[in-house]
């Protein structure tokens, strides 16, 4: 501070400027990147959603007020995509919770090989979406994919998982559960290890059953983290794009086309740029509502806690 003050009063004009504004100057590059890459496109696309505009036509954008929103919200296709997304979110998140929870119960105990196994289980979470998508695409491949080969060995027929609507949904959900259950596990595990050991001992002496012990002692410690896991996973699943696009591209037909994939199609295949911007903002709005809903519950829980 003393040095800065010294420079602020002496030295050239430039030196003095730098000395006085050191903090802002240091933050400036990061802020610039954030504004250019993040905030500006966000605002620009928001503005765009009020115009009639197609990115592949040389035509002046025309201001149309809420017409894009109106069009999007009355479009039955959009609602269909929302439904598909809702099914995926519901099943996906539920399975992640169950699998993640069971994994956490497993890894709470110490057993030989725990560290190695834990590392293996955590790996999917750290892979890139593209890798996971490509991996499962090959895995489900009817002619040489492992799944098909395995079933062929039993039934003699190759198995086309992604050929049916239910199969394609299951394939996508399985891939996402495989990738993100470890995340739920980590959160639950953090809750499990935070339970004071002497409470379990007291419960043992009080002769509580496993079930009661779980609900009265363990569960309260993981409830908050579980809510957090649901929140994160729901938001992520709601935006699910990469895995769907890589494994099924929304097919067969449009049966696995999530809302995020649909936004992509509207924007870059139908080139209804402004309409996709509007849909994107509706998506954002839904996520914000979901987030606040969860935060509301989390906060209410926190107030109930001592």
């Amino acid at each position: 501070m003393a040095a800065a003050t010294y420079h602020a009063e002496h030295g050239t004009l430039l030196e003095r400027f730098f000395a006085r504004n050191r903090g802002p100057i240091l933050v400036a590059p990061a802020l610039a990147v954030l504004v250019i890459m993040n905030i500006f496109p966000l605002l620009w696309s928001f503005g765009l959603s009020f115009y009639r505009y197609r990115a592949n036509r040389i035509k002046e954008p025309e201001f149309v007020w809420f017409k894009n929103y109106q069009k999007v919200l009355t479009d039955p296709v959009v609602w269909e995509r929302f439904q598909t997304t809702a099914i995926i979110v519901a099943v996906d998140v539920l399975l992640q919770l169950v699998v993640g929870f069971l994994l956490a119960l497993l890894f709470e105990k110490t057993f030989p090989g725990r560290r190695v196994l834990l590392m293996l289980v955590l790996t999917p979470m750290m892979l890139s979406f593209v890798a996971v998508g490509a991996f499962f695409r090959y895995y489900y491949e009817p002619t040489f994919g492992l799944l098909s080969q395995g079933i062929k060995a039993i039934t003699g027929e190759p198995f086309i998982l992604l050929g049916s609507e239910v199969g394609a949904l299951a394939g996508i959900i399985f891939a996402d559960v495989w990738m993100w259950s470890p995340f739920v596990m980590l959160l639950v595990l953090a809750g499990l290890v935070s339970v004071p050991k002497h409470l379990y001992e007291a419960a043992e002496i009080d002769r509580a059953s496993w079930w009661r012990r779980f609900w009265t002692i363990t569960f309260p410690y993981i409830r908050g983290l579980l809510l957090l896991a649901i929140l994160f996973r729901t938001i992520e699943a709601f935006k699910l794009f990469d895995i769907v696009f890589l494994i099924t591209e929304g097919g067969p037909g449009t049966s696995t086309e999530t809302i995020a994939v649909y936004v992509y199609r509207v924007a870059f295949q139908y080139f209804k740029t402004s309409q996709s911007a509007a849909l994107g903002y509706i998506l954002l709005f839904v996520v914000i509502v979901l987030t606040n809903l969860y935060l509301f519950f989390v906060r209410r829980r926190a107030e109930e806690e001592p």
Partner: protein, 364 residues
């Protein structure tokens, strides 16, 4: 109600030997105190009895039944932990009802038992609150309540008062006595506090380094400590241990040569007969057994190093011929002196003990 017998119980945690052969017998309905410094093995002993730890060796019998292999749930004991271990997300009512829920008890009966227990422990006003909003004393009473509500055959209390302030501790000591009188359940109570041990125990076991060194009533533990360690653990302020040498063959019988005086050895004549002249001894003098004597009287000169007023009494830290001694005087007497004063002291009581210097065992 239960009668308990531990035989040669051992338990190690890696290279740490927590219990090195504990033998203990607790009578039916007894209030038994397990007293010892921290890390002596008190908690481990209780945990082994409760079944939370498996002993490496030895046997544990309750009412003649070997408890090896009997799970915690079927031992029918209740334990109060040092940390209380209250269920933080349950209310006082739910905490108290917790042990009853597994007993297939009717709701109405659970309700009345909880209210009865809460009343007994004066925590009725906290029934709808969670432990975190209770005071230390209320939490303590809740922990006790959860233990007594099931009416088990044995209570295990693991330093239940250690986390409370002095005033509360005092009140709770009386509470424990009252409860025991009302319930009559066999109780094992671990504490590192000698005042607590002496004031509530019917019998006390002194445990040190994973071994029981002496089991006795509070009175006898104070009067006849088996060795210098027990002697220095019991009594407040702690006993003075002064090095001395045995002198035999004088006209008046055996004597012990202390740096500041010569002690008549006749009261211990029988025990001293077996020893050689010149044997190093430790003389244990209770601070209450030293008295100030008139100037020019008998007694030995000493200098006051520190005065510690305790309210009704004052502890004087003295130095006599380079030997540090503690004595207790009435507050009014103590107020007359300050550090640096010269006084004369004499041995006034009959509670003086002799210990062998090398082994520390008492000379009968």
């Amino acid at each position: 109600m239960a009668q308990l017998r531990l035989t040669a119980l051992t338990k190690s945690y890696g290279s740490v030997h927590a219990l090195r052969g504990v033998d203990l017998e607790v009578e039916d309905g007894e209030f038994f105190v397990l007293f010892g410094p921290s890390a002596a093995g008190k908690t481990t002993t209780l945990r082994v009895i409760a079944g939370l730890e498996k002993p490496d060796g030895g046997t544990l019998m309750v009412d003649g039944q070997d408890l090896a292999g009997v799970p915690v749930k079927r031992r029918d004991m209740a334990m109060v932990f040092q940390s209380f271990a209250l269920y933080p997300h349950l209310t006082t009512f739910q905490n108290l009802a917790y042990p009853l829920r597994e007993m297939k008890m009717r709701r109405a009966e659970i309700d009345s038992r909880v209210r009865e227990t809460a009343e007994l422990l004066r925590i009725t006003h906290t029934l709808d609150r969670r432990p975190a909003s209770l005071s230390g004393g209320e939490q303590q009473r809740l922990a006790i309540g959860r233990a007594i509500i099931r009416q088990p055959r044995l209570f295990l209390f693991d330093e239940p008062l250690t986390n409370l302030d002095a005033k509360l501790r005092h009140d709770m000591r009386a509470e424990f006595k009252r409860l025991h009188r009302e319930l009559g359940t066999t109780t094992i109570y671990a504490t590192p506090d000698q005042l607590e041990a002496l004031s509530i125990g019917e019998r006390i076991a002194v445990i040190q380094h994973g071994q029981i060194t002496q089991v006795d009533t509070p009175e006898r533990l104070y009067a006849k400590p088996i060795d210098r360690h027990v002697a220095s653990l019991i009594g407040d302020p702690p006993i003075n241990l002064v090095r001395g040498t045995l002198k035999l063959g004088g006209n008046t019988g055996p004597a012990i040569e202390l740096p500041f005086m010569e002690l008549d050895g006749n009261p211990w004549r029988e025990g001293l007969q077996a020893l050689d002249a010149g044997t190093e001894l430790l003389v244990g003098i209770r601070p209450h057994d030293l008295a100030l004597v008139e100037e020019n009287g008998d007694g030995v000169p000493a200098t006051i190093e520190i005065t510690e007023p305790q309210g009704d009494i004052t502890i004087l830290d003295l130095s006599a011929e380079g030997v540090a001694l503690r004595m207790v005087v009435a507050e009014a007497t103590g107020a007359r002196y300050t550090a640096g004063d010269s006084v004369r002291i004499a041995l006034a009581g009959a509670d003086t003990r002799l210990f062998l210097s090398d082994s520390g065992t008492m000379v009968a």
